[in-house]
């Protein structure tokens, strides 16, 4: 620890901190563009110029004669940082005036407006007038930078964050600076667009509106977006994310800094992989077969020739859940060992617990198995070498995992608690002794493989709780239309055993419902679904998950299991 004095505020800073980090600990903002925690230091934007001095052994403070870049200046015990002197303020004003010399000021049509550091810093530290007496340099936009990235060249402030990202984090080095002086531009080599799997991050890194995501371009002004803290469900890395939505439509996902999970970034697969949330083919209402609808006493309302009975118009779930509950109890009474519930690794810990504890409370002999764990290829590690090879294990900065589900560990822990040993759905299907199935899906892609489809066959009871139609849901007795990660609260345990809380951002489409709500009502539990209360209950009930008993997992989440492998981003 080192004692640092920032604007007469004394703080304990880490000896490895630079001036920006030390000042941040004192609650003082040092504006900066080119510096980023995860990238190397270049000190090129000159926005973070501050006065730095040191405390001599006799207690006198000696300030340096010149302003120094705060990002590049390490601190030591007794360092004095001044950010509010006239000298610093003048420097900030001049730097901003220079950065704005050729900036087009087209904020009205710029996607970054509202979350733009040039806007914010100009407002806070800048000078309103420009003394430029010449026409501004205007440069051509570059839509060829990448499949997902457009470059609005004249908005660029040449911080080179994007260039350093492709060199240091993705290792693919597509982006570079061409030309010199006022003619500097970011560009790619001919025919080598920036299409690596982490490319979307350069859009987040860009402090101004130069690099824009083509996917989000002109879709929404950022001040309309409401953000929810969530977890990416694309792979078992479990990147912390912001889900940005407006009027129940998710517009983009952004990575959320989490040193425990993935660091600062996320991959494009996750970033742009949320589109299935708004897929037209989502299941929008629960469904019973006609025979069951008669049971529910709603046959009088069914006039549809296509086989689906119309349920209670106002409360379609009321009948469905009653019938489901009765059928489950009936099936368990006939053959408890033959009742198999398949818990998908896309379920949250709470949902898995609700279903498992409900079924086990009906009969201990009910079998619970783990749903299909989708694995695609092998782990994709970054930064890549010059020939695209994976980095040495100690150099890994980001990993896209091959296990394409968010919560295998969490569901496994629930299953081990209730079931003892872990059985996968493939094994359960192979045994072919089940008479009733309760499938939970929620996968972002189709998951019903041929062996599962054939193995399930035509059981006496088939319940499917899923978001998309599948061969199983087509012939299911009961279909419960459920939700995606963006529509529900819950906890996901990632590959290192980090339990992170995800918050719902939007409502389910149509009459679909969040899984938690379905299961709460199915289990006839009192009250509404509340992830925090359930976490407390689960933490008390399951020793392995004791850590989540705190309820509020915070922004970074808590570790639930001892880490078996070193954390590699």
């Amino acid at each position: 620890m080192a004692k640092v004095i920032v604007n007469d505020i004394e703080v304990d800073a880490d000896a490895k901190d630079n001036c920006i980090l030390a000042a941040r600990k004192a609650g003082v903002e040092i504006p900066h563009y080119c510096w980023h925690e995860a990238l190397s230091v270049v000190a090129s934007c000159r926005m973070c110029l501050v006065e730095v001095g040191e405390t001599k052994p006799d207690g006198t403070v000696v300030m340096g004669p010149k302003l120094v870049p705060g990002c590049q200046t390490p601190i030591k015990d007794g360092t004095v940082i001044r950010t509010n002197s006239d000298k610093v303020k003048t420097a900030q004003q001049m730097t901003l005036e220079l950065l704005l010399l050729n900036h087009p000021l087209d904020c009205s049509i710029c996607d970054q407006a509202g979350e733009c550091y040039l806007q914010d810093y100009t407002y806070k530290y800048g000078n309103a007038a420009s003394r430029l007496d010449e026409p501004k340099l205007q440069r051509m936009d570059k839509y060829h930078i990448g499949e997902q990235i457009a470059l609005f060249t004249d908005r660029c402030v040449m911080c080179t964050r994007c260039v350093r990202f492709t060199r240091e984090i993705s290792g693919t080095a597509e982006l570079q600076v061409t030309n010199r002086g006022s003619h500097e531009e970011i560009d790619v080599f001919p025919d080598t667009p920036c299409d690596n799997k982490l490319a979307g991050n350069v859009v987040d890194l860009c402090p101004v509106g130069a690099l824009c995501s083509k996917d989000f371009l002109y879709k929404k002004r950022v001040w309309w977006l409401k953000s929810a803290n969530s977890v990416c469900t694309g792979c078992s890395t479990g990147c912390s994310i912001h889900v940005d939505q407006n009027e129940d439509k998710v517009y983009r996902l952004r990575p959320r800094d989490n040193p425990l999970a993935q660091g600062h970034f996320m991959c494009d697969e996750g970033r742009f992989g949320f589109k299935y949330i708004h897929d037209e083919r989502r299941l929008r209402k629960p469904k019973l077969t006609d025979a069951l609808a008669v049971d529910a006493g709603t046959a009088s309302k069914s006039a549809k020739p296509n086989g689906t009975a119309d349920l209670n118009f106002a409360e379609p779930w009321l009948d469905v859940l009653t019938v489901t509950r009765n059928k489950i109890k009936e099936a368990i009474k006939t053959d408890a060992r033959g009742f198999v519930a398949v818990l998908s690794p896309f379920m949250s810990v709470e949902e898995a617990y609700l279903l498992a504890s409900y079924l086990k409370s009906l009969d201990k002999k009910v079998r619970l198995v783990l749903g299909r764990v989708p694995v695609v290829g092998s782990d994709d590690k970054y930064p890549k070498g010059s020939k695209g090879e994976a980095p040495a294990p100690d150099k890994i900065k980001f990993t896209i995992r091959s296990e394409k589900c968010p919560n295998r560990l969490g569901v496994e822990m629930i299953l081990r608690h209730f079931e003892g040993d872990l059985v996968t759905v493939e094994q359960a299907v192979a045994r072919a002794d089940a008479t009733a199935w309760y499938f939970v899906g929620g996968y972002n892609v189709g998951w019903v493989t041929d062996p599962i489809d054939r193995g399930v066959g035509k059981p006496s009871l088939l319940i499917v709780q899923d978001i998309f139609a599948s061969p199983l849901s087509e012939r299911a007795d009961i279909v419960l239309a459920s939700s995606t990660f963006a529509e529900r609260d819950g906890t996901y345990v990632n590959h290192t055993g980090l339990a992170q809380a995800a918050c719902g951002a939007v409502r389910c489409p149509g009459d679909a419902r969040a899984d938690g709500r379905i299961l709460m009502e199915l289990a006839e539990r009192k009250g509404l679904y509340n992830a925090m209360t359930l976490r407390k209950e689960i933490g008390k009930a399951i020793p392995g998950l004791a850590a989540i008993a705190v309820g509020d997992l915070g922004e970074h989440g808590v570790k639930v299991t001892p880490v078996r492998e070193p954390i590699l981003f």
């Binding site: 049509i109 839509y143 371009l217 002109y218 002004r221």
Partner: protein, 205 residues
């Protein structure tokens, strides 16, 4: 309610009502006298609308219009400022990248694919034209807004542009926002060849 007495504010007391005023009859007689005076003055103040249309001042805040630029394109750059400023939430814009292949649009980045104003929901406060950085939206002196259905009065982009065409040819440009030309700030900037090119022009909108 507590009021802080400031030295700059002069506080007056309510006049005391005497027995004469308390009878109220003098006030009633005074009122009757005024009414009779007007009845026989020979001056009519009844407006003969709709036979005679009233003179509407040019700063009247009536139906909106969307201005066109010199090339006849919609001037709006789809910045959503009006939608943001609108207290009645009656404006809805869907933006799209300008068709870059079309030479007619090549100097524009973004344009409104749809621009809808619910004229029934609007409270005609004029915040939208105040917010507009390119003077694209204006309230005209068109006041007689009628329709058979509510849907008819939800104006889309074409309808709003047609209001511009009608009002500009009829010489009924509103006065607040320089009649479709850019504001004084941009004019100053242009004459002094200083500062940014006005938004909506130039290669970056």
């Amino acid at each position: 309610m507590t009021t802080k007495k400031s030295k700059t504010v002069k506080w007056g007391e309510e006049p005391k009502i005497g027995w004469w005023e308390a009878m109220y009859l003098p006030a009633i007689a005074g009122g009757l006298a005024t009414a009779i005076k007007h009845a026989f003055s020979g001056r009519t103040t009844t407006r003969q609308y709709p036979d005679v249309e009233p003179e509407i001042p040019p700063n009247y805040r009536g139906v909106h219009r969307l201005n066109r630029d010199e090339e006849g394109r919609v001037k709006c750059v789809a910045c959503y400022m009006c939608q943001t400023a609108c207290p009645a939430n009656c404006i809805e814009i869907i933006a799209a990248p300008a068709p870059k292949d079309d030479p007619h649009w090549k100097d524009r980045d973004k344009f409104p694919q749809t621009f809808t104003i619910d004229e029934l929901r609007c409270i005609y406060c004029g915040m939208c034209e105040e917010a507009c950085p390119v003077d694209a939206i204006e309230l005209t002196s068109v006041y007689d807004l009628t329709g058979y259905t509510r849907k008819e009065l939800i104006f889309d982009k074409e309808k709003l542009l047609s209001v511009f065409d009608e009002t500009s040819t009829a010489g009924k440009d509103p006065v607040r926002t320089n009649r479709g030309a850019l504001g004084p700030a941009s004019v100053e900037a242009a004459t002094a060849s200083q500062g940014p090119p006005p938004p909506g022009r130039g290669s970056h909108g």
